[in-house]
């Protein structure tokens, strides 16, 4: 129960729950903004997500500008022509804040636009030290329409291979309002939910940063109570609960996504996240699935103090189970809980979700090549990501192959 030397910064205020949008005009006015520009993707446009937002501003006396919707597809690159167009609209019409309505792609576009309108478009072209952002930007609000992977509320902006890293890039405000949430596909929910689980669990175990631990505990609690029920409700409509309950699951998971971004911004070098993202490039698993498959081995390998791993039982299982399980049994139980969740998901998804690395098509012979590919895939410049220890990576991948516990002798 010590605290280490740590820093923690979360510039994002969260407004969560029923009618959260109604508070937005007041929040914006408190930031000195009267004329926000809204960016949204085509899915948000199609599902009418802008309507409740426009309604929230109806009697505010503020002017709300709406950009043409962007393509929210899977291509991670931002269309620079569209960005230039939005920059022109923002400057020409005198907007004074940015609202991103959607998920990943819209948030990335909004962050890039924010850099351009506050510091000038040339900043986006700059390299090295010139990309450092050390001052507050234009007020930026993020309103998710579904589950994200946390990158939306992270302090990192990605622009077509280029990375900007500053606490000032995180949204000033994230609003999660059930009215604006769209029903995600099960694939999206599974990837996002597992990403949140892996991020929160690894950061909870490895971080001696009490504020980060508090966020992690909340994130894990939200995932445990809402993730599997939501997936089940989508995949087995015959047992789907009422709409209100489903909406509550969605809203709580969107909150977990926002928390994940805050953790990512404060906890550097989470191994399951880095390895999982890399692995997903060359396997059938999504990044979230890969992260969770690797998580047990990562936790077992790199947790110096096993009681930190055992403490994970508290957010995973609650007060009663935590307090009744002997300390010596907690680390193994924590890992078992994570594996059980993945196994249960496999069952709900009728075997279409991988539980082990083998399930993703990776075999023992290809592990060396996978490890080798890590060394030729350095962390993107400008990020806090550490270079992965290849020996550790090989051990993790080997033991994730069949979901086997680590060889304890290795730990000694």
């Amino acid at each position: 129960m010590n605290t280490g030397n740590f820093t923690f910064l979360c510039r994002t205020k969260t407004g969560f729950g029923m009618n959260a949008l109604e508070h937005l005009p007041f929040d914006l006015s408190c930031m000195g903004s009267q004329k926000p520009l809204v960016l949204l993707d085509n899915n948000a446009q199609l599902k009418g997500c802008a309507k409740p937002l426009i309604r929230a501003f109806k009697e505010s006396g503020m002017t709300l500008g709406l950009c043409p919707p962007i393509d929210g597809g899977t291509d991670p690159n931002i269309d620079l022509k569209t960005l230039k167009n939005f920059y022109g609209i923002y400057i020409d019409k005198g907007f004074d804040s940015i609202i991103a309505l959607g998920t990943g792609k819209v948030a990335d576009m909004a962050k890039a636009l924010n850099i351009a309108v506050t510091l000038g478009p040339d900043t986006l072209k700059a390299t090295g030290e010139k990309t450092q952002i050390t001052q507050p930007l234009t007020p930026f609000i993020y309103i998710p329409t579904g589950m994200g992977t946390g990158m939306e509320t992270d302090k990192i902006a990605r622009l077509n291979g280029k990375t900007f890293n500053s606490p000032f890039l995180a949204p000033d405000l994230a609003i999660i309002d059930p009215e604006i949430l769209i029903q995600d596909t099960s694939d999206t929910i599974i990837n996002a939910g597992l990403t949140c689980l892996a991020t929160c669990c690894e950061a909870h175990v490895l971080s001696d940063n009490p504020p980060a631990r508090a966020y992690c505990a909340t994130g894990i609690g939200l995932i445990i109570k809402n993730f599997l029920p939501l997936v089940q409700s989508i995949l087995t409509p015959e047992v789907t609960p009422d709409k209100k309950t489903t909406k509550r699951y969605q809203t709580n998971l969107a909150q977990a996504s926002v928390i994940t971004g805050i953790i990512l911004a404060n906890c550097k070098g989470l191994l399951s996240i880095q390895l999982g993202r890399h692995l997903a490039k060359d396997s059938t698993a999504t990044p979230g699935q890969a992260m969770t498959i690797l998580l047990p081995a990562v936790l077992d390998l790199i947790t110096a103090n096993k009681s930190d791993l055992g403490n994970l039982i508290l957010p995973l299982s609650g007060l009663d189970e935590f307090s009744s399980v002997p300390i010596s049994q907690r680390p193994a139980l924590a890992i078992q809980k994570i594996r059980s969740l993945l196994n249960k998901l496999y069952q709900i998804c009728l075997g279409t979700i991988p539980r082990t690395l083998s399930d993703t098509g990776v075999d023992r012979e290809s592990i060396d090549a996978l490890v080798q590919s890590l060394s030729s895939d350095p962390p993107p410049p400008g990020t806090d990501i550490k270079t992965i220890n290849l020996k550790q990576a090989k051990t993790i991948l080997t033991h994730a192959l069949d979901g086997q516990p680590l060889n304890q002798a290795y730990l000694n």
């Binding site: 129960m1 910064l9 408190c30 909340t218 939200l222 109570k225």
Partner: protein
């Protein structure tokens, strides 16, 4: 996990916690474009030699324009106005506030005036009036208790008009809170105990109040765990730097918890105790906390029961039947007060009737109790209490706390 229909959570302060966190001040201020700070403190902090430590840590990497130690125990409008003029005259571009709540409130008041180029602080009273970021402000708390380094509120007293002005805005949050154990290392045991119990009261009340949310809960639990693990050890071993750092971190976490939830009757009664009898706030919190929980027990029994885990540890939690956990949690806080009383040679009080000033006079007499109860009824924090309180309830509670006997719960008018 309790998730309300709607909640907000915000703490934009950069929390820097380190055994050498003070040394990071120059880098942090320079990154905000400031290099000519005013150092603001009070005479007590100055006399304790803490400013020398801060100046030594800054090591000429900043051009400190002035060190002002005139901050009174109660923030004062005149002082704020005068120091805002000094800020301009000396060409300052930032404030480093070293001290407790009053120093932080004063720093926030000065920062409003100098950032807004204003003369009249009154025009910024209330909520959400400030519309833009203020000048850089670094908070260096010197007690591990108030949590004011992470609150967006300032209270400035206009003693001429006999009123207290409240300012609320996210822009009042300091840019950075520097948590460095050297700032609390020399605190005497009884003050360490009192300030830690202040933080404990913030965390516990934040957890049981109606406006709690999952994130305030998680911060509160972390704070309680840290205090329970380290407080008695630090009292017995004041030079325990790790323990000091943990207590200071707990106070900050508790500050985040209550500023995103609320506090309730413990603070309402404590404020009036302080106002009428001039008792140290932390002592009031320590004594009143079990009574506040007893009073609210029937409304928030489950929440109080959950607190048994961070208060007593998993073994006691698991071995206590569910129906007894809340009462056991309250008993744990009383027991902690008893331990602190013993460890501080009797200076940490466990009831009001025995508290004496330096001359040996009793500070709280039975005659004062009605006035204390009346004053508490006007305290804003009373409205957030789970169970309603009227004058008789307040009086009954402080009478029990004065005697040091458990509250007679059969007399509570349950709403």
């Amino acid at each position: 996990m309790h998730i309300p229909d709607y909640y907000e959570f915000c703490c934009r302060v950069n929390i820097v916690t380190d055994h050498h966190a003070l040394e990071k001040i120059p880098e942090l201020l320079l990154s905000m474009g400031a290099k000519n700070p005013m150092v603001l403190t009070d005479k007590g902090v100055q006399a304790a030699g803490l400013i020398d430590i801060v100046i030594g840590a800054i090591d000429n990497k900043l051009s400190i324009k002035t060190i002002e130690d005139q901050v009174p125990p109660d923030s004062d409008l005149k002082i704020v106005n005068r120091l805002a003029c000094v800020y301009h005259e000396k060409g300052c571009d930032a404030i480093i506030a070293v001290g407790g709540g009053s120093v932080l409130d004063t720093a926030k008041g000065i920062n409003i005036l100098v950032s807004e180029q204003a003369q009249d602080l009154m025009q910024f009273t209330g909520a959400g009036v400030l519309k833009q970021k203020l000048k850089p402000l670094i908070a260096v708390p010197t007690t591990a208790g108030t949590g004011s380094e992470v609150t967006s509120v300032a209270v400035i007293a206009d003693h001429e008009k006999n009123l207290k002005m409240l300012f609320t805005s996210p822009f009042l949050l300091p840019d950075t809170a520097i948590i460095d154990p050297r700032m609390t290392l020399t605190l005497p045991p009884h003050i360490t105990a009192a300030t830690a119990m202040d933080a404990m009261a913030h965390a516990v009340e934040a957890y049981v109040m109606l406006s709690k949310n999952p994130l305030s809960d998680a911060h509160a639990i972390e704070a309680i765990k840290l205090i329970c693990h380290h407080l008695v050890r630090v009292i017995k071993q004041p030079s325990d730097k790790k323990g000091r750092l943990a207590l200071a971190t707990a106070a900050t976490m508790a500050g985040i918890a209550f500023s995103n939830s609320t506090v309730g009757m413990v603070h309402a009664l404590g404020h009036s105790m302080g106002s009428v009898c001039h008792l140290p706030h932390g002592n009031c919190m320590a004594i009143l906390l079990p009574y506040g929980l007893e009073y609210n027990l029937h409304k928030v029994e489950d929440e109080i029961a959950e607190l048994l885990l961070p208060l007593a540890g998993e073994e006691i939690y698991a071995c206590t039947p569910q129906k007894n956990r809340a009462l056991k949690a309250i008993a744990c806080i009383r027991e902690l007060n008893q331990i602190l009383n013993k460890a501080t040679g009797g200076t940490h009080p466990i009831c009001f009737k025995n508290i004496k000033d330096k001359q040996g006079n009793f500070l709280v007499t039975k005659k004062m109790l009605p006035e204390i109860a009346r004053t508490a009824m006007g305290d804003g924090t009373i409205f957030y209490n789970p169970e309603d309180l009227d004058y008789e309830d307040c009086l009954m509670t402080i009478q029990a706390a004065w005697e040091g006997i458990p509250l007679d719960r059969s007399k509570i008018k349950q709403g």
